[in-house]
Symmetry: C2
Subunit: 299 residues, 2 copies
Amino acid sequence: MTAGCVVLGGGDEVSNSFASSLAASLSSPYCEVLRKVFPDGESYIRLPGEAVKASRVCVVKSLDYPQDKALVELLLTLDALREKSNAELVAVIPYMAYSRQDREFLENEAVSIRAVLRAIKSAGASELYTIEIHKEESLRHFGGRAYSVSPYEYMAGKLEIPEDSVVIAPDLGARGRAERLAKALGVDYDYLVKQRDRITGEVVFKPKELDVKGLNVIIVDDIISTGGTIAKASRILKAQGAKSIIVIVAHALLVDGAWDKIVDAGVSRVYATNTVKPRSGRPVIIDVAPVVAEYVSSS
Amino acid sequence: MTAGCVVLGGGDEVSNSFASSLAASLSSPYCEVLRKVFPDGESYIRLPGEAVKASRVCVVKSLDYPQDKALVELLLTLDALREKSNAELVAVIPYMAYSRQDREFLENEAVSIRAVLRAIKSAGASELYTIEIHKEESLRHFGGRAYSVSPYEYMAGKLEIPEDSVVIAPDLGARGRAERLAKALGVDYDYLVKQRDRITGEVVFKPKELDVKGLNVIIVDDIISTGGTIAKASRILKAQGAKSIIVIVAHALLVDGAWDKIVDAGVSRVYATNTVKPRSGRPVIIDVAPVVAEYVSSS
């Protein structure tokens, strides 16, 4: 880090808490924006003097729910910093909303993550860090230095995992996540695929190679939103004889009803990071700001 | 208008209705984006094929409550159009949120309207039309052709106004609005100022020149948000003998409780335009899309 770097909390609880931890890891000063919301719903942002005077500002703002308000507050903050200071502006976005709409699944759909990343760049950020974006290649839309930090290796050191565990991704898209976590834990991994049973001819979902019977299964994914994917995976693995199901995700949105849905499906514990405030349930939260600090400080 | 111009509704009720009326006034085709909101709160936008094929697209999106969601949906729409079409993109923003935070009232405040206008420009709009922005000079932040359309002259032709009427602005900032409306109605106008009573020495608010005793007063302003300004003006003018109070505004946000507040203060009727959906009360709504059409078609 250059001298004169400060870490600026974006004004909401999640962002300020993450920023404070990041500042401690970086041994940099912490400050936060003054944020309020007017009676008509418009946000208001005022910069602290420390941020205006710095030569480099890490603006920490999670695009947690309500995502659009968080994004607009980030744009207001970056724009104000660009006008008022000469600082290099680094956007630290613990949770990157809109990252699942990363292509036209149907013709003429907006590619939301492209619009969001471009807006953040246009508002003045020259560098961007996020945690476990849905697809890393989306970061090209930022048009500048942009990194997605994997939290799983760090999380592995903080988990209480039973013996005879195995890591399973709910689909091929999450296979790389399973691999990283499994290697850090020193256990096997696999992912669920649709298969035809060779005896009954029935189409079922199963781990591609592993037999989970009698094993403790760790399901890993980037995000739990409604819990549908995780609940389905949990039921499949339980039916195939898994002894217990633990879930590890980066972003536990857990929208209304999601917690009950996954608990009903047999999930006994969820570990998640501090990038969002879960909207239901009680996942175990692991502070991953120290991992982001390693990236920010080395670049 | 060039051939191949289409008017695109932004997907919400207010924007689609405004766009539909604008299209009719321009004799241009109307289409609308497909808009939905995912369970986690993220918006989704899909363009209609007509918009992608056009040579000029008027994207109509009011930044009505919830303002931040509306702005993000506008950015998604513009970004998608920029990628998918070669059209010239015209942003028609019936209500421009964040226009009152147009300078640093306190040091290091974000100048919200600057960030918002820059974001719209960066997303691909080359031209912008809005209705009665709080301060016209804010439009310079767009960095391109940008116009604020005055609705009062057009509204004047649609009002039922009693004899012996006079137009009063609640403060000096709204004086120009009072002048435009009064000229269109052929009546006198004035604005409220703080004055010291020459006899009692008491400090009071009064019209600068006019005596409103026995007259029907029309209070004009750009916006009613919480209703505080209008309620105060109404009480002052009633106390000075005004026979009745009618209010004319461009944007009737009327946040919760605002309607009761102004009715309690003596306001008997409110006229507003169709730029927003009022959040309380029953103002008389005048469709001003035809006024915008005159600007869009002549440029």
